[in-house]
Symmetry: C2
Amino acid sequence: MIATFSFIGGTEGAWRVRGMQAVAGAPLPFVEAIAIRQEGSLPAQTGYDGSAWTLRGVASHARYATADEMVRLRARQAPLGRTEARFAALIPIRKSSAWWSLAQDERRAIFEESSAHTAIGLDYLPAIARRLHHSRDLGEPFDFLTWFDYAPHDEPAFEKLVERLRGTPEWAYVDREVDIRLERET
Amino acid sequence: MIATFSFIGGTEGAWRVRGMQAVAGAPLPFVEAIAIRQEGSLPAQTGYDGSAWTLRGVASHARYATADEMVRLRARQAPLGRTEARFAALIPIRKSSAWWSLAQDERRAIFEESSAHTAIGLDYLPAIARRLHHSRDLGEPFDFLTWFDYAPHDEPAFEKLVERLRGTPEWAYVDREVDIRLERET
């Protein structure tokens, strides 16, 4: 089912920003905290008084995973929100028009057969939990909002995960990426 | 690139309704005319005073076609809006949750290897021009809005096209479909 999420950057929210880095393309304005709202249908593109930006995305169906890959992911993945998962990362990503003009089989081949995107992710399960939000059809500035949570002692593993993904052929099509690291307010 | 379209059912618009039929699931309220608006980013879900409904969708990238299929489609397809294409059809479609919980390879296999969706469509090019709008991520009541235009003398071919598609295994996953036939105001 469709679930729409808004990530609101500003001064309020359950997640305090530890750092923000523009990996590719334009940065986002720096904020102190991020609030996450889940909404049943498409929310207005508004935050709260004084918020700096709102990014929206939809958690919907998988776009590249095969049935076999989905079975392996489900067998190993952990849910978001575990007590020990006090660290998180919000990584908004935009891919180039060259990517989106490729056919489905060409994108799939780059995503998995060349870049092993799912296979790399599997190496970090269940330590790193993840939810992908699709933003492209919403006319948003990013195509995806990737959200991860993990225990603080798993941050080195998370660094390795993003480093491996950024070295793949798939990442040649990423033209904007911002890496935002967070810590849950206690 | 992303282009968002609103189809506004009511009493105004360039397209006069010749007939509306609920093929599966709940019907849409009958209207006299449909107005089409193209918007740069996501439009508000509003029509005009007195309009009955507004359906929104995004024309974006292909979700199942292979590179080879895209080459064959591009070689044969005609643009929308030809002078002789005075007839049109707007067919909003929703697929079941069973469809959306399938993996990409399973959906692709049903779409083309079992149902020959693209191959069937190719048989009616260039007579029938087409644009697909994606609505699912927008939280809309339908997943797709399919729009076709054609010359009046090609309506029998269009009937054959939709009859063939509705007989495919893919259509077992269609749980709502409304077939709206239109004529351009001259």
